[in-house]
Amino acid sequence: MSTVGEAAVPAASRRPSARRGARTARQILVKVVSAVLVLVAAASVTFFAQLLVPGNRATAILNEQTGRAQLWTPAQLAPVNREFGFDKPLIVQYLNYVGGLFHGNLGTSYTQYRPVTQVIGAELMPSLELTGAALVAAWVLALAVILLTAKRGRFVTALGSTWEALTASLPTYWVGVVLLVVFAVEIRIFPVIGGTSAWGTVLPVLTLAIPLAGFLGQVTRDEFEKVLDQPFITTARTRGMGDTAVRLKHALRHSVLPAITLSGWAMGALISGAVIAENVYGRPGIGQVLVNAVNTRDVPTVSGIVLVVAGVYVIANLLVDIAYALVDPRLRAS
């Protein structure tokens, strides 16, 4: 897993390609196995953490079904305990759960009676679309601001970096509701209820992208300006390369590395952080499913969501590694 500042892997250019192939295959296998372990560990931690939440699960289920908040008699709780297997020892419940995981069975939701895979699956795609688009949009915004404003005279530079710091400090709900009121109600460009349509996703995407763009921009700007000071840039300029070309072709490539690393983390964080945007715009999403599931102590659903988010994170980081290798010539085994 690459991180900012980690020593660059020495090029393996002098080894025979067959051995390199085997080594790469082994590396991939190790990565896959460790990814699976990470997922199981995350789900296990979640499973047990939920049992720490005080209160009785059967009680919570009955209350959720009836909209009440009270205790129930043991006679009323017994059928619930039987139905969900709460009367079995904890270890047995845990092992059943983990065993099920390896069969692709994430369990059944306590409150919706449906398989957890269905509960999550229905609302996962809109969340992924939203967060994926938000990440892309954040990148576009961040890069645009940097390309236009880095090292271009005191005022413009300051404006750019202030813009980034400003947007990074915006509370998500605030951005969401201001965008809603201004662009969907006052000036009716976008719908208030976006649902999952493309046009209706613009405002939710912007709500998440604008603060993230500020954050990514700040991280990248420093690198970008440092790179623009490097001797090889001066060389390129003296060879007649135009300013825009210099920025795009050389400086950008070197300076985006830290932000690429952060993107892996950002993807995982965005998914659950998107709950606010989903709430404001009435979009389905697993953030809301997660909040409901924790509130109603729907243990399998919570664990299932953790698995899915962890899975997304793992895949995102795999992509980050690939992107890193593509962008940073030092890491590419030539």
Partner: protein
């Protein structure tokens, strides 16, 4: 790095070996941070009213001279509530970042210095921590311990720790291989001295801006938790709580939502700004 010289306007201060000249561009964020600190430590200096003084005759008044931010739906002066909320919000920001940094320093340095199996183990733990949605962590903690200032600090702190731990570890690995560290070790300085005098300052210096960014982000994050109903109990004037209770009024009494939001933005912005300035100064001095 060039600087404008204001021989009369600038003030000189010493910070260890680093001289800091305060320029107007730094003055504004500094002033804001100072104001917030005063608000957190001695709110009575900035306002004579009480944050819980209800007045049902004067609810929902727009901003005016006597109520700079207007009044809320109980007739309380919003400006006063914002001032008194500084302590809790700043507390969350500093507390969460402090907690995160403590964990991060511990894990990052151990992993970076020890290497080998310990490094691998800590890396795996960080992986699992990363894979965990921070939102869930907050939800679970609050479900177990109930919503309170402490729970919020712990939730945001633990949630941000893995990210910092990664960065610290990366920096430590970087600096470990640097020439001056090897030189110091070759000169026979003790391990501790090397860590204290060379490793630590040089590893942490590039992270100063990230830390202050983190303080700002923690304040913003806490407001998100309040939105989900996981904030501190009323009648606390914590900024996130103000933001949450002002939501319904955005199209009618907009100041209830806009003012607390602006304050959060300005404060986070100023802290971040100062952090970047500080980092640039430190890096300039270190060259």
């Amino acid at each position: 790095m060039s600087s404008i010289s204001f021989p009369r306007a600038g003030a000189l201060a010493r910070l260890g070996n680093v001289r800091i000249r305060v320029r107007p561009g730094t003055a504004v964020p500094l002033l804001i941070v100072l104001l917030v600190t005063v608000a957190a430590v001695a709110p009575g200096v900035l306002t004579h009213r009480s944050p819980t003084a209800i007045d049902i005759e004067h609810t929902l008044l727009p901003p005016s001279l006597s109520h700079p931010f207007g009044t809320d739906d109980s007739g309380r002066d919003l400006y006063t509530r914002v001032i008194y909320g500084a302590r809790e919000s700043l507390g969350i920001g500093l507390g969460a970042t402090g907690l995160a940094m403590s964990i991060a320093l511990l894990l990052g340095f151990i992993a970076g210095l020890a290497g080998g199996l310990i490094d691998v183990l800590i890396n795996r733990i960080l992986e699992v921590a990363f894979a965990f949605p921070v939102l869930l962590l907050a939800l679970l903690l609050i479900a177990i311990y109930g919503p309170s200032l402490t729970t919020e600090i712990i939730a945001v702190g633990i949630g941000s720790a893995p990210g910092y731990a990664r960065m610290v570890r990366g920096q430590v690995l970087n600096v470990r291989k640097a020439a001056y560290v090897e030189a110091a070790a070759a000169l026979g300085h003790s391990r501790w001295a090397v860590i204290r005098r060379h490793l630590f300052p040089n590893a942490m210096r590039p992270l100063v801006a990230m830390i202050t960014l983190g303080v700002g982000q923690s304040i913003v994050w806490a407001s998100g938790l309040a939105f989900l109903g996981l904030g501190v109990a009323p009648p606390s004037p914590e900024w996130g709580a103000l933001l949450d209770s002002g939501r319904e009024y955005i199209t009618t009494q907009w100041w209830l939502e806009v003012m607390p939001g602006l304050v959060i933005v300005l404060v986070a912005l100023s802290i971040t700004s100062l952090g970047r300035t500080l980092q640039h100064r430190l890096e300039g001095a270190a060259r």
